[in-house]
């Protein structure tokens, strides 16, 4: 007799439906697992027999052959446990009607169902492939149910799953009584509890932050230690608009895959990732053995990737970020397969004005030589800096600002202005299917959205004197459009262009 169920194999973010066939042969007891299982999946053989016996639904005392189709697709991990055991039980005729159901759960030896990583992308793949009926562990239910039109059923134990599919079980379920970890309730990210009103003074930097949020521009902050660069960056997610449905789904899927938490609801707040400057390229762009896992750049998708002390990062890390900055994706090739992860993040860089950090103002305390300073900045390559629209100097806060105690604007006030500016951008850029000024192509800026000569005159002069590159010219205009959107006017004027130019030239002043 043959039993059949379905499971999902995740390769990166892409899920593939895997058909699980089980056959019971009339020979000595054995368990054979075919179809390219990796070491962790091969362990399922031993886990499954014990779990089934302890759950009170023992497997057949004959040779069980389980085949995972397609055999060519590499399969790994423990999420196939439940599908395999249900196929084996179906082959023995113990359960019925599971032939079109997708089972995604790991089994404990006592027969408890355990939650698995990457539930959201797995369920999305199953529903896309036309399999709506999905069985998961109770801890995973909320996450699986995020997918519209998925019919999710959740259970605590293998015994209750078997009973749900018509198995004959009686008596008390020992696994049901076992202590369980409480379902983790996701808490708000610490970055979101921080408010802009905590920051005294820093008018210019706050304005730059507001522009960055409104136009989704990449941001570079230069300032001495203690000036508040990190404080400012941490408050950026708080003034960004909440994620829309499809973006929230992408972000939640990545977080589900990286296994930081079991997502009970969609991630609505833009994520904030701040890897330490000793981070390796693999931890930032993704890596690991077998199929590479997402790195910080992908976890920051639709959110902020904050690199504090940017020149301290390995050169390879910084250069690796250029590709996702252009394409919004990271494609990682390994011998065992290719994984592609979205990585459309907003980059925020912070650095000191010099290695010792004291070269602000007149810089009389600074001990660095000119050569040291030059070397420090050269670690950030031209091509990378060229992609950063906004460059701002963050000065030490003055006594007047710090002691006078007048409250600064709160995040909610700024967020409202940002939301209006975003709405204005969508209305103007919708016909090219852009959402923010930072995405607009240069030929549109110079074509359909071209500004009169008298408005761009200060910028043209800067281009003439080689103070900005041709690419820089486009970037200044993008920022000028955002400044104008924030002020609620229809089209930028010369003042907006000058302000935008100010955020561009500071790399030279610093």
């Amino acid at each position: 007799m043959l039993g059949r169920t379905y499971a999902v194999s995740l390769v990166g973010m892409n899920g593939h439906i895997v058909e699980v066939e089980a056959d019971i042969g009339q020979t000595l007891p054995a368990f054979v697992l075919l179809g390219l299982p990796d070491a962790s999946l091969n362990e399922a053989k031993d886990r499954i027999r014990a779990a089934a016996r302890n759950a009170g639904v023992p497997l057949s005392r004959r040779k069980i052959t389980v085949n995972l189709i397609p055999a060519s697709l590499p399969k790994r991990g423990s999420s196939f446990d439940l599908a395999i055991v249900m196929a084996a039980l179906a082959a023995a005729g113990d359960v019925r009607g599971c032939g079109t159901t997708v089972f995604i759960a790991e089994l404990g030896l006592d027969g408890q169902l355990r939650p698995v990583r990457g539930m959201l992308p797995a369920v999305m793949a199953a529903v896309d492939a036309g399999y709506r009926s999905i069985v998961v562990a109770a801890e995973n239910e909320a996450e699986a149910a995020l997918v519209p039109s998925a019919e999710v059923r959740s259970f605590h134990t293998l015994r209750s799953v078997a009973a749900g599919f018509g198995a004959d079980v009686e008596g008390e379920d020992p696994a049901e009584a076992a202590p369980r970890d409480p379902v983790a309730v996701p808490t708000a990210q610490p970055g979101l509890l921080k408010d802009l009103s905590d920051i005294a003074g820093q008018v210019e930097a706050r304005f730059a932050l507001e522009i960055a949020a409104a136009g989704a521009h990449h941001l570079l902050m230069v300032g001495p230690p203690g000036a508040g660069k990190t404080m400012l960056a941490e408050r950026l997610p708080g003034i960004l608009p909440d994620l829309e449905d499809d973006h929230a789904m992408e972000v939640t899927a990545i977080h589900s895959l990286s296994g930081e938490r079991h997502c009970a609801e969609l991630v609505r707040k833009p994520p904030f990732e701040s890897p330490h400057h000793t981070a390796t390229p693999a931890s930032i762009i993704g890596g690991g053995s077998g199929i590479p896992r997402p790195g910080a750049a992908s976890r920051a998708h639709r959110g902020i990737l904050f690199l504090d002390e940017a020149p301290e990062y390995e050169r390879r890390v910084l250069e690796a970020l250029r590709e996702p900055l252009e394409s919004g994706r990271l494609v990682l090739h390994r011998a065992s397969g290719t994984a592609s992860y979205p990585a459309r993040f907003q980059l925020v860089l912070a650095l000191n004005p010099c290695p010792c950090g004291l070269a602000n103002g007149k810089g009389i305390d600074c001990l660095c030589t000119a050569q040291q300073r030059r070397r420090y900045f050269n670690r950030l390559s031209g091509p990378l800096l060229d992609r950063v629209d906004l460059q701002v100097v963050v000065q030490r806060v003055s006594l007047a600002d710090y002691a006078d105690g007048a409250p600064s604007e709160a995040s909610s006030v700024v967020a409202a202005r940002v939301a209006e500016a975003r709405a204005a951008q969508r209305a103007r850029l919708g016909r090219w299917s852009y959402a923010t000024n930072s995405e607009v192509q240069g030929r549109i800026l110079r074509g359909e959205l071209a500004l009169p000569r008298r408005v761009t005159a200060p910028l043209d002069r800067a281009l003439d004197r080689a103070l900005v590159s041709a690419r820089g010219w486009d970037r200044v205009l993008r920022v000028a459009w955002t400044i104008c959107d924030l002020s609620g006017r229809g089209s930028p004027d010369a003042d907006d262009v000058v302000t935008a130019l100010g955020f561009r030239l500071q790399e030279r002043a610093a």
Partner: protein, 118 residues
């Protein structure tokens, strides 16, 4: 005789009864040679049947048949030809069967008979 050997003997007797009722003719028991021991030798029509009997008093430590390993099967394969040569008999073929006996002493043992395990 130790308890586990007693259990083994009782299991082999139970298995022999079961096989005879199933139409096999038992021709030898506990035949030994330097390679090892055959629990039961039976004849099914013109086929020589080498039978390995496994007896357990409970399934707390697994099913009786689960304990038959690949190396045991290999040895039985060699023993089959040894037995045929020693008795100078010819058969149209031979096979190896396994019988699992679960005998908890209640007088109602559970018997599993698996034909042609290799």
């Amino acid at each position: 005789m130790v308890a586990k050997d007693q259990l083994g003997r009782r299991g082999e007797a139970t298995a022999a009864q079961y096989l005879e009722r199933a139409g096999l003719r038992i021709v030898d028991r506990n035949w030994r040679c330097p390679v090892g021991e055959i629990d039961l030798v039976a004849v099914d029509g013109s086929t020589l049947v080498i039978v390995e009997v496994k007896t357990r008093s409970s399934d707390d430590f697994g099913q009786p048949l689960e304990s038959i390993t690949a190396s045991k099967l290999e040895r039985l394969y060699v023993l089959a030809s040894q037995w045929a040569r020693a008795h100078n008999q010819r058969f149209s073929g031979f096979r190896i069967d396994a019988v699992g006996v679960l005998d908890d002493g209640s007088g109602d043992p559970r018997i599993e008979h698996v034909r042609a395990v290799i």
